[in-house]
Symmetry: C2
Subunit: 590 residues, 2 copies
């Protein structure tokens, strides 16, 4: 069975040495000193590695079952969920007014990474709840907040997002679920939703569905959509549970992975619902959940590959096969371990350098959200720009990383016994849900790039430029600054190409959108590595910290800059080839 070790030291390095969060001046951040966060991370890591990780394979093998209309989760899930709740982990970054612990989002991301790494399917039950909590927290009336939030913060009640219908996912304007207004101010919801993660299960007293539906008078397309709160059990005035609502599980989907999470077909047959936010402005409220969910999926993207990498490392050190080409390294063993072979290293370094760069990007993104929550509009603009990159790039590369890790095992990675197949199968969904990665690329190039007059992407370029200027002369100039500059130049050239060609031919921009998302991702990770390198070098120079850790960080960063950043040139070449190669053929020619 695969093991999982929480990367506490690496997280501490990011939180304190690189981001220096306790000195960020944000309210409450001054309490986040090194000892405090270490205690939190250690405790979360213990829960993750000792309780959640051992349930990961069990969840995959048993899956969820639908029995007489009720979804049964795999053995051990309910008890582990109680431990999550009792430990206060579900409340970590929630509002203290509703029972939360009020920690910043970056701490939610750090602990969340661990829970995802340990058991992605399991962690979705609380992840979806957090998204629904945020939507109600932002758009709900005080009455709604009082009714739902305390129970959702504690995960006594869990939450879901109901967007997709059989005939529409991305194009929500097509949706058919209806909401009929009732005299008491409520609505009756009727329709079918599919792919509803954590749609039903046996670990919570109630499930609070947030459902997109069309109420009368809203007009065509997405304009007519509103968001409704539809609880599985109606909630009485005193907060106790009342009647079962007219919502039921039609079926469980059979999926490639995340078997431990119940993916439901939900049938609404005149279920009672209450409007959340403004009538006919449901998309706006939904995007509160959606943006959080996209960052959460980006987190899943790399976090899911962390244990895959860890187990690949263990296997590469353990499995004896062949001899080092430079001469036998373990003469007393029957063969040398896999890790002596350059191509095994190449794979492990690809994995390691991506994962640590991705973690930095996710943490930085979370820190930006913490800043945005305090009213920092620049931070908000930047994270809005970065959200599709974090979602799309980190999930594509996270999947690739899991595949690389599986490959280290050879045939043993293909059989289910060692759990490496599960990491790949689970990771695959992250490229699809919460907006398939092609949709992320469209959001990035079609919307985010030009938002607010292109201000945010200019700010990103400016940030890279001034960073490069500040460190142009130091010991990192050749290994980090020069390649970062080159990548950023490619990114700017691509943006320029879109500006020059996109207006007269939108296809010219959109034909390159996917490559742009990856080009941006590599450049962002290049910046992350350069920032980590600057910190590590400074600490080494001043004799702070663990020298082995810091030198490893530098070497890993050099690998990323030398071996991954050259991809930006290929992405640029693809982008600059324009729309003709992409759009030339008639549909019939495929």
């Amino acid at each position: 069975m695969p093991h999982y070790t929480a990367p506490v030291s690496d997280m501490q390095f990011l939180l304190h040495d690189v981001l220096n969060i306790s000195a960020s001046g944000l309210p409450g951040h001054d309490e986040l000193d090194r000892d405090f966060t270490e205690a939190v991370l250690d405790a979360a890591g213990k829960l993750a590695s000792e309780v959640l990780a051992p349930l990961n394979v069990i969840g995959d093998q048993q899956g969820c079952r639908l029995e007489n209309g009720v979804v049964r989760t795999p053995e051990g899930f309910a008890a582990a969920f109680e431990q999550m709740k009792e430990g206060g982990w579900t409340a970590l970054d929630c509002d203290p007014d509703y029972g939360g612990q009020g920690m910043p989002y970056v701490m939610g991301v750090a602990t969340g990474e661990m829970f995802v790494s340990a058991n992605m399917a399991f962690n979705m039950y609380q992840g979806l709840t957090h998204g629904a909590y945020s939507a109600i927290h932002t758009h709900g009336t005080e009455d709604q907040k009082q009714t739902y939030l305390p129970k959702m913060v504690s995960c006594d009640w869990t939450g879901t997002m109901n967007l997709t219908e059989p005939h529409c996912g991305t194009d929500l304007g097509l949706l058919r679920t209806k909401a009929e207004p009732q005299d008491d101010g409520s609505y009756l919801i009727t329709g079918q939703k599919i792919f509803i993660s954590a749609g039903d299960h046996d670990m919570a007293e109630n499930v609070i569905h947030l459902v997109l539906a069309k109420a009368p008078g809203g007009g065509e397309g997405t304009k007519g959509i509103s968001l409704f709160i539809v609880p599985k059990f109606l909630v009485n005035e005193d907060g106790s549970l009342g009647d079962r609502n007219a919502v039921s599980v039609g079926a469980l989907e059979h999926k490639m992975g995340i078997h431990g999470n119940s993916t439901c077909v939900m049938n609404y047959d005149g279920a009672k619902g209450w409007l959340l936010g403004d009538l006919h402005k449901g998309m706006r409220a939904m995007f509160t959940m959606m943006n959080e969910a996209r960052l959460g999926v980006g987190l899943q993207g790399y976090a899911g590959a962390v244990p895959a990498y860890q187990n690949a490392v263990a296997y590469a050190k353990d499995r004896l096969q062949g001899r080092a080409v430079t001469g036998t390294q373990y003469p007393n063993a029957a063969a040398d371990p896999l890790i002596v072979h350059p191509d095994i290293r190449r794979s492990l370094m690809d994995q390691k350098s991506f994962l640590e760069g991705a973690r930095m990007l996710a943490f930085w993104g979370a820190h930006l959200i913490d800043q945005a929550d305090e009213g920092d509009a620049d931070a908000e603009g930047l994270i809005s720009l970065l959200t599709p990159v974090i979602k799309g790039f980190l999930t594509d590369k996270g999947f690739e990383t899991a595949v690389l890790a599986q490959q280290i095992y050879g045939g043993h990675g293909y059989i289910e016994e060692h759990g490496m197949s599960q990491f790949v199968r689970d990771a695959r969904i992250t490229m699809i849900y919460e907006g398939a990665n092609g949709v992320q690329a469209l959001d990035l190039v079609g919307r985010k790039l030009a938002a607010d007059g292109g201000k945010h992407v200019m700010a990103f370029f400016e940030m890279v430029k001034s960073f490069c200027k500040d460190h142009a002369e130091g010991p990192l100039a050749a290994d980090f600054i020069a390649p970062l500059k080159a990548a950023s130049k490619d990114l700017q050239a691509a943006a320029m190409f879109f500006m020059q060609n996109g207006m007269k031919n939108p296809n010219a921009a959109l034909s390159g959108s996917y490559d742009f998302m990856h080009l941006f991702g590599h450049t962002a990770l290049g910046l992350m590595w350069a920032r980590m390198a600057v910190t590590a070098q400074k600490m080494l120079d001043s004799g702070e910290g663990d020298a082995v850790f810091l030198k490893t960080k530098l070497a890993t960063g050099r690998y990323y800059m030398k071996r991954q950043l050259p991809m930006t040139a290929t992405h640029l070449a693809r982008i600059e080839s324009g729309s003709e190669p992409v759009m030339e053929l008639e549909a019939e020619a495929f």
Copy 2:
């Protein structure tokens, strides 16, 4: 359920217009005129799409079962296997002296592609048999050939390859299975083999295992290995079946995919075996099977992705979602089909341009084997060089292609219902078995590149050079010849880097081996596309053939040259960064 359509026109174009096989001067090839091959391909395509493809999902869902020591294949497999046999498909390219039809290998590859596309797990039963047939055909005594080959050609008896043991796969020198010589000239084989594809099943009267084992006196490592024929049922003098041999199925593996094929743990408990080929020279005999198997797996790599692509195209034309960014294309429909969106096209073009280029490479490779079989040493050297490229590159990109196709389906691709997940899960094994792709890269750079003084890679460069020279002035100069030249230059630079650095530091070459394999693959596909383009252009100029087909071919080729070939620069940059970034860290630092 996914559908499959055999690409007969594309194959005919390759066989006749590009390769012109009937004029190749090889014995028997003159009979392969256009009508004849079309009849063969139509019939194979009919069997593939009507009989084998519908069993693909069933095979995945039911898998194989071990019941009282006997493996049961999924419903319908046995009947379909009978149809394969009755149609003579298993005998297509086998020696007429033993019941074969004597067609060239290229026809075996063409029909094989169809069978793999339709049902990869199913086709492995006969694929492994063909490999074992070849080993016995090349290394067996006349007596052995008479005993085994006719039954294997007809697939009344099937074959297996037994290499891997629990503690060793790549490093066969470590194997422990023993062969004790008996007075009657036979051996008693004792040991355990794992991951034995088609190790046992209920579709054949007998299973002929080819087993690597160590006989006394052979010395250490691979030098002491011999190859043995170990039938499941002993064969009497008159060819009838005798006693059950002491070989049994210990377990069936639970795998990520290819559930329809029985992957067995085989236990040999003093099973009777007969030496195949020379004592202590088993590796040589095994490589006959292995090289064929590697080409076969390369074929699986792209062939498995063909139906994934075909179904993605159908879905992209059928699924209505969003509107074309350049303006509504189907005003009477609720939305435009996915295929109007540039990023969907980008994905479909990536798939299409890879698959058609890969098919050309596989067919050309098969044609080289047909030439080599007639004593053409240059052809033999070239295909020996290309084998790891075909295996490694086509399987990596084939898997990527299946993932791209699955992605088109969004959430519907992740559930098992539409069969897209199966294509991905099945494809994953091709990167692993018959030598994991890292081992292919090692074979390419560590062995094949310098073989015969580097003669074969020089011949490849020369071939590209003279091709470019011949077409330097034509209408294809800018779109095809220039990018091919650039790719070839990158490939030569990489080979030069290895030559200059590999001697004093073997790690410098091996750290770039994987990238070199891909760089070679892209260059080879660039050459394939340029060759197809030259043919298509010539036909268009002279008014031959189907103009729409030929123009589509040219457009698809231009896409590959513009959007895929730029990857060669990134691979070269990675290679030229040398071994330091790869090898710098201590093993403990991972």
